[in-house]
Amino acid sequence: MATMADFRTSEKSWWCPGCGDFGVLAALQKALVELGVEPEQVALASGIGCSGKIGNYINSYNLHVVHGRSLPAAQGIKLANRELTVIAAGGDGDGFAIGMGHYMHALRRNVDITYIVMDNQIYGLTKGQTSPTSDGGFQTKSTPNGNIEKSVNQMQLAIASGCGFVANGFSANQKQLVEIIKRALRFPGFALVNTYSPCVTFNKTNTYDFYKAEIVNLDEDLSYDRSDRFAAMKKLMETNELVSGIIYEDPNPTRYEDKVTGFREQGIVNQDLAVDPALWAKLVGQYK
């Protein structure tokens, strides 16, 4: 059984001290350990930005792609080898600005991967510009007079797009986040794990204290029914998505892989590539 140490790397972190992403990384590693997954069975695709560097710090097979494209990469990996545990990870800019086109389609395609978003509501690595999840009025280097655009509601989008597992965590609430990620990793289908992961250097508004004060913890609401899609949407609207816990989980999940004609349980990478001569004759024979 793998331990936390098995999932760590020797790489010194480039994240700022106090960065929310440390908490997300630790929760992911802990969830994998608790689920008994071996490091070589994990493939993680990450995007560009501070959070995209997560692949540097976790001992798994990591593919650090171009900006905004962690989701297609993760889907490619999963469909090539469905025996793996496949994770996509990145930030709010990577996922909901440049990567938004892929987000919508990953949600509705429903390949069995887990998407972990480290949302800090700002562009950190480029040193402080507005992000698609920044609040209205938010002042940044690129919005000196305050953000005049509406923010993306990525969790409502997920539910509207048919996503079967929508959760939100807070990097400072490790216990809850570990449980969320474990559940997401076991969920058969696309699972969204958004997290609020504060940028301590460039976002002086959406701080740890801000989230602690504002977030509504669903685990404390015993009457909340996470199998109710309408209730989930209502809760997200009521709280302006400042909510933590599993917001929606489809009680009857399905996944893309099970609907592909002729798709096998064994990963494509583990199958014999030889073509049966009789099949070849049949394929070629179509052109006679």
Binding site: A43, N62, I77, L273
Partner: protein, 612 residues
Amino acid sequence: MFSEVCWQIGGEQGTGLDSTVEVFNTVASRAGYYVYAYKTFASRIKGGHTDFTTRLGTTRVQAPAPGVNLLVALDQETINLCAKNVYPNAIVLADDAINPTLPEGVSAKLLTIPFNKMTLALGNPLMKNNIVLGASAAFLGLPLEGFKAYASRRWGNKGEEFVALIHTAMEQGYEHVRTNWPDLAIALAPADGKERLLMIGNEAAALGALAGGCRMIFSYPITPASEIAETLVKAFPKVGGIAVQMEDELASIVACVGAGFAGARAMTATAGPGLSLMQEALGLASMTETPVVVVDTQRGGPSTGMPTKQEQSDLLAMAYGGHGDGPRIVLAPGSVEELVPLTAEAFNLADNYHCPVIIASDLALALFQQTVEPEAVELSTLPKVERGPIADPAALAALGRDVFERYSKKTNENGVSERSMPGMKNGQFLATGAEHGAFGKVTENAANRVYMMERRMHRLRTVKTEAVRYFGPANADLVIVAFGTTLGAAKEARAEIEQLTGKQVGVLQIRLIFPVPVAEIQKYVGNGKALVVESNAVGQFAFMLKGSGYNPAGLASLLKYDGNLITVEEIRTAATRVLNGEAQFMVTGGGAGVRNTSDPTIVLESAKEAHV
């Protein structure tokens, strides 16, 4: 007796002409004739003129025909557009209902058949094209039985009555011609009766991919590439593969990189606009040393350009596109037949060289039907799957963690080191588009950067494949350099040019576009002149030749970028001028014929003067 004939049919798009032509071509192929079939069409679904041309021969035909023997015109527009291309004694067959007239100066025989009236009598508008097929068979001496047999097989599931109606329509067309013009025939020599295959290049690419172990395609619909995925989506369930229609080309190529990273053989298929979108992620594949295969069915560019027209203008984008320096291999099949083994080989090259391999197809190769000899696609003769340098899982497991270097300095003769794949214990690493060290960890160390850049680029110096093929005598006076669709016309022009000029002429097919196989080109061109024939405006391949260090004084160019195929006649004219010392740089097309120009690879007028 003709050893080849050319049949053309034109009418309004969306009136079933596609399947009519498919029937004609298939029946001719089954009768043992070689087929080269091409078409003019527009980027719309219904309406607008479309015409299809089929060249039939008792030996291989591989380029547009110089003229048409039988033109079937279903509207006057077809006559207006196409009649100028018919031979002087050709037959133009039209519906009498349109009161057809021939343009001035066309000396063909105009015959009319009451297609519409006969169709109405049969009570089904679909029968018109079957009457056309029967009439065409009668003029060309093709066996009516072949057409009827095909109809029985193809539409048998629609019921006996329907098939009988088709048979009747075909018979009526046939009989009408035999009765009214018993002495008129375009006597095509009998074929050898051998059963050959007939397919478009996109189907051939799909077959080649399957044989080459490809089990995944991620793509986005685009003209003229879509049939590759459409063919694979039908075949993949039989081998456990998967075809995914992605949300765009950005996702398509990145999913391929993901699948390649995971160890699968994955591909995407696109055309110019898609290739432009894929550039960033092709750099990712180069940087992470991940195998990936792309088919680019080139069409008229830039931007949307001419989606349904021929061009070979993505060469520079394929070889050098995107930001930064990264290795890519670009292959160019010269026929539909060659697309099968070459696509299969592309996957071996990608796995052996750990970099993107791009197949430079083009619209005409992608969409036009050509005869394929069954021997050429015999499974046992196709490239065997070679997976390239892969770490041994047992040896990896024994290593312990943090020992395996994915980007190790222990490389093979190609400068490539073993890769691990997810699932292999202790093979974990970081594949990143950022500059990295041996374990994949990000670093901007200068010495490491130099090593890594040299490491990635070095593999191009050792690419092993059949880079060129030469047709013709050694030490020829002129060597025509051609690739893709243009190869067929160059090969057909060769003997004609020799006859016309009394000089020796060879054709050098470039199969490896990049890295440019300069030594092989030098070897075959020798001290002769070289004429590079390509379908683009700036002489992209000539530019690549020069940039790769090959720039003899006699390097000549023939360019065409009006959307139509380069013809045998155009190559013959250009080659003759080069041999006579009358021209070096020529352009053709747009209705103006072959004309001289200045070196297309040099832009500034002042530089052109300096060059001279």
